[in-house]
Symmetry: C2
């Protein structure tokens, strides 16, 4: 019932995660009826970002600059390297406020069934980076999922003979979380990793 | 924590209705990490749609063509004109399957506090259209809201002396709806508009 270009717009909006046919229609009509300048600005930024944003030469996070601002910040502790699965995880760790080192951003986690192995994740680049000798402590902050654990395990094994101090972030009951709101897997882990106080 | 262009992308995505800071971040990272061709296509279609999509000369719906396909369809009954508030409403009436006439799409509803009067809605264009004499029945299908009712009332009064047959779509309990799921306003209206059977 809509014109070809309007249909094409509705269809294109569906590449966005969480956007089904009805929200795509609502978004398209909203932009055309209420905010064409905002829609055009989004179009322009999308085109620029999809071509110009690459990966930081140092940490592999998404950035249009050769080296990201975090890696370029000389106030950070270059002896600590925190390995995460995605740029969003860098933000999460930074917001926790407790870390002053650098990062290495993997392109996700090991997923052999999808053909995603160490090379696809960028683990060879990580090894090259560690070979430079600047890093003394490696903190594995991949997700607490089966794939995230397998990825951490793989990296741990890969630098077994490097003399690096390697740690894994702690898993357990979230701060402020009630025991009966936590899944049993997490609770089992929290119990087995209990610490003397 | 993100690069300037990535921050700009996240910010620009927030023009979309229903997209807050967290979904905008999720969308931006998803496109950059998983679907750059889809993101670039969306950017291109957005830029084209925001400049090329205009309004049908006949019915004022959104289209990049001078006259929309519905108005151009000679199989439609040109003596009936259904007035709706938005292009999405044309789709809704078409999907109901019970209408074979043409449409006139207002730019919303009367909203004096927002400075939206008859002129902003396109009511003068509607009157010009009715003056051509082709239309014999006018069906007012604006929303069943206070503003939609006021808009229907205004149009009804504006063509009081035209000799046109004017009707308003029926309001009442939705088909398949249980009485106790319907708001009391709707139920009161359904009662007062009861029909002999
Ligand atoms: Zn970096
Ligand atoms: Zn039309």
């Amino acid at each position: 019932m809509f014109s070809p270009l309007l249909n094409e717009l509705i269809q294109s909006l569906r590449v966005l995660p969480g956007v089904g046919p009805r929200s795509a229609q609502r978004m398209a009509l909203f932009l055309l009826e209420r905010n064409r300048p905002g829609g055009a600005r989004l179009g322009d930024v999308l085109l620029r970002a999809m071509t110009e944003v690459g990966h930081c030469q140092e940490c592999r996070t998404l950035t249009e600059e050769p080296v990201c601002r975090l890696c370029a910040n000389t106030a950070r502790d270059r002896s600590q390297l925190c390995v995460v699965e995605s740029p969003a995880d860098v933000l999460a760790v930074e917001q926790s406020g407790g870390y002053r080192g650098l990062y290495f951003v993997l392109a996700g986690h090991l997923s052999p069934l999808d053909g995603i192995g160490p090379r696809e994740l960028g683990i060879p680049d990580l090894m090259t980076r560690l070979g430079r000798g600047e890093v003394r402590e490696l903190i594995l902050a991949t997700n607490a999922t089966v794939e995230g654990e397998a990825t951490a395990h793989y990296i741990r094994e890969s630098c077994r003979d490097s003399g690096l101090q390697v740690s894994r972030i702690a898993h357990g009951v979230p701060m402020g979380g009630e025991l009966d709101g936590v899944d049993s897997h997490t609770l089992a882990r929290a119990l087995s990793q209990r610490q003397q106080i």
